[in-house]
């Protein structure tokens, strides 16, 4: 009725989202580096031409997708199991629920340092266990083939509780009656999970999926601390690459180009996920 009342919120949104985005788009069409004394000089889209032939950018894009998709899928699967466990009645359930949330409450820097230590060669616990059984050292964080998966494990460890919480909230909206009615009709527990729990959890799973994917796609701190993008840039994410361009190579123009490109990729992927969700929805419902 009074659209003018929306103005303060809109001004705030424009201030924190609109201005930076417009500024970065503008900057991505300029050269602004040590060579120009950091002054933005128009370059007729040279940054964008460079981006399309920059194999490191595309390599990082693939790596970022790989990281985000693997960790989100693992998180959802583990979170569903945890949520089902936490939804049972048992002694000290409140305490157990709180403890489960702890990894999520831990600052990323601290937990990333801990995981770096866990994977440390030769002193970390994993290497110690391998030595105990006289197995060969894996050298996880220095191995280009598996280092990325170590970062996925750390990310899964940290954020699974968050999704578990969302799914637990979803589980609690499903009335017990439905399971009882299903039991009276002859259904067993496994088919109850498939035909009642999963379809009714769907909105919560998709919510977690979208939330977490957006977050994982922008991963920076975890990787910066655990591997610094190495070995041989195999764990480098797009955010890390943008950061390196801005603050190590002092090339703000190109860094802005990477940020905007990441932003576009993200929107494309979200749309894709959204379409996929709509497809699965009709697939899962039983007619």
């Amino acid at each position: 009725m009074y659209p003018i009342l929306l103005l303060p919120a809109l001004i705030l949104l424009f201030g924190v989202f609109g201005i930076p985005i417009v500024r970065y788009i503008w900057l991505s069409f300029h050269t602004s580096s040590v060579l120009t004394d950091l002054l933005p000089i128009p370059n007729n889209g040279a940054n964008w031409i460079r981006l399309f032939s920059d194999s490191r950018f595309w390599q990082d894009a693939i790596q970022t997708f790989r990281f985000a998709i693997s960790s989100v899928i693992l998180e959802i699967l583990i979170a569903i199991s945890i949520a089902i466990l936490l939804n049972q009645t048992f002694k000290n359930r409140g305490i157990v629920r709180t403890i489960t949330l702890l990894p999520w409450a831990l600052p990323t820097t601290i937990m990333a340092l801990s995981w770096r230590w866990i994977f440390n060669t030769p002193y970390g616990p994993i290497e110690q266990i391998l030595t105990l059984f006289h197995l060969n050292s894996i050298n996880i964080l220095s191995s280009p083939k598996i280092a990325w998966f170590a970062t996925v494990i750390a990310d899964v460890w940290k954020t699974t509780p968050f999704i578990a919480l969302i799914i637990l909230a979803g589980l609690q909206t499903i009335p017990e009656d439905l399971y009882e009615a299903f039991k009276l009709e002859g259904g067993n527990e496994f088919s109850a999970f498939q035909k009642i729990t999963l379809p009714l959890l769907q909105p919560y799973i998709f919510l977690g999926l979208l939330f977490r994917f957006a977050q994982a796609f922008g991963v920076f701190d975890l990787i910066q601390i655990m591997t610094g993008g190495g070995p041989a840039s195999t764990t480098e994410s797009l955010s890390l690459y943008a950061y390196l361009n801005a603050l190590r190579y002092l090339d703000f123009g190109y860094s802005s180009t990477i940020i905007i490109a990441t932003f576009i990729l993200m929107i494309i992927f979200s749309l894709f996920t959204w379409i996929l969700i709509r497809q699965t929805k009709s697939l899962l419902s039983i007619r």
Partner: protein, 324 residues
């Protein structure tokens, strides 16, 4: 006898929910289980369905001991208070799900579902979701699901409590026609004494997990075996008179009449309801409810009277009926 409960006792932790319950229900008979919330009436239903297991006692359906039988093999048609329809499935899918689980062919599923939908006058809703139906329609779907089960016994857990008062009265005859006039025993759990009297052939009144009294509505109304039953059955509520020499007398409101020579009383509140009028009186017996003909003019002070043969007498200690 088609349903027999023998010495059923059930407890949660150390709290007895049901104590030594014995109930028989014949084929085609509707028994209402009536009582205040927490009296164990829903628990009784759940034990019969096999959703809970009694600590002691046995359940017989069609003279077969089903105490250790799984819920599905007991073949009960249950209507839940919430109806428990699957919110993500269409009405047709809700109804066919059980048939599908029990391995009935697709063709047969469709045949049975469409026939029950037309009996229930739900044909045009088969593709709707439960959330797109009204309360009364949802109740019919829940009933249809129970009927499709071809059960040995019907268990209805407060099937009307989610409906508004007017709809409830409209649906009573329909419910009786569809389920209760069948050949199977029907257990009807309710906390509404009026509904119990309207729907049931017999009523079992439960209090704190104990069977207080079982009998026809008329027996319960005319010969309540305890003060609890006397106060629970009949509206307006029976008048409990003050204790005198270890005796509690009670008198139904309709048995109190205005009379020239009688107990003096003062009107403190009146409700003219068309069918009757309910007068709240202050007298030497305390506050009394009187129900009388709506055409009678009631002055603000009057004398009242009741016939001693209409009194119910109870022992003040045990609260149980004394023969009179």
């Amino acid at each position: 006898m088609s349903l027999k409960l023998r010495n059923i006792s059930w407890k949660i932790d150390k709290q007895w929910i049901i104590r030594d319950l014995n109930i028989d229900v014949k084929d085609g008979e509707c028994l209402a289980i009536l009582g205040p919330s927490g009296c164990g009436k829903s628990s009784t239903l759940r034990i019969i369905a096999g959703l809970e297991k009694a600590n002691e006692g046995h359940v017989y359906i069609d003279n077969i001991d089903v105490t250790n039988t799984s819920p599905v093999d007991r073949k009960v048609g249950m209507v839940f208070q919430s109806y428990a329809l699957f919110p993500h499935l269409s009405i047709a899918a809700n109804l066919s799900l059980g048939l599908k689980i029990r391995g009935i062919s697709r063709k047969e599923q469709e045949k049975r579902v469409s026939s029950i939908l037309s009996i229930m006058q739900l044909d045009q809703y088969s593709d709707r979701l439960p959330s797109e139906l009204s309360g009364g329609q949802r109740q019919r779907v829940a009933l249809a699901r129970a009927l499709l089960r071809e059960p040995s016994i019907y268990l209805l857990d407060e099937p009307m409590s989610n409906l508004d008062a007017q709809l409830r009265e409209e649906l009573r005859p329909e419910l009786r026609r569809l389920v209760i006039y069948g050949e199977k025993p029907v257990l009807y759990v309710t906390h509404d004494q009026q509904e119990a009297m309207a729907m049931a052939d017999r009523i079992a009144v439960l209090k704190n997990g104990n069977l207080e009294q079982i009998g026809t509505p008329e027996q319960l109304y005319k010969f309540p075996t305890s003060i609890f039953v006397a106060s629970f059955i009949g509206r307006p509520q029976i008048n409990i008179l003050p204790v005198k020499k270890g005796l509690i007398k009670a008198i139904r409101p309709e048995h109190i009449q205005p009379k020239d020579e009688g107990i003096p009383a003062k009107v403190i509140h009146r409700e003219w309801l068309g069918l009757n009028q309910i007068i709240l009186l202050e007298s030497s017996f305390g506050t009394l409810r009187m129900s009388c003909d709506p055409s009678v003019e009631i002055p603000s002070t009057l004398n009242i009277y009741w016939d001693a043969k209409n009194e119910h007498h109870f022992d003040a200690q045990t609260k149980k009926r004394i023969k009179n």
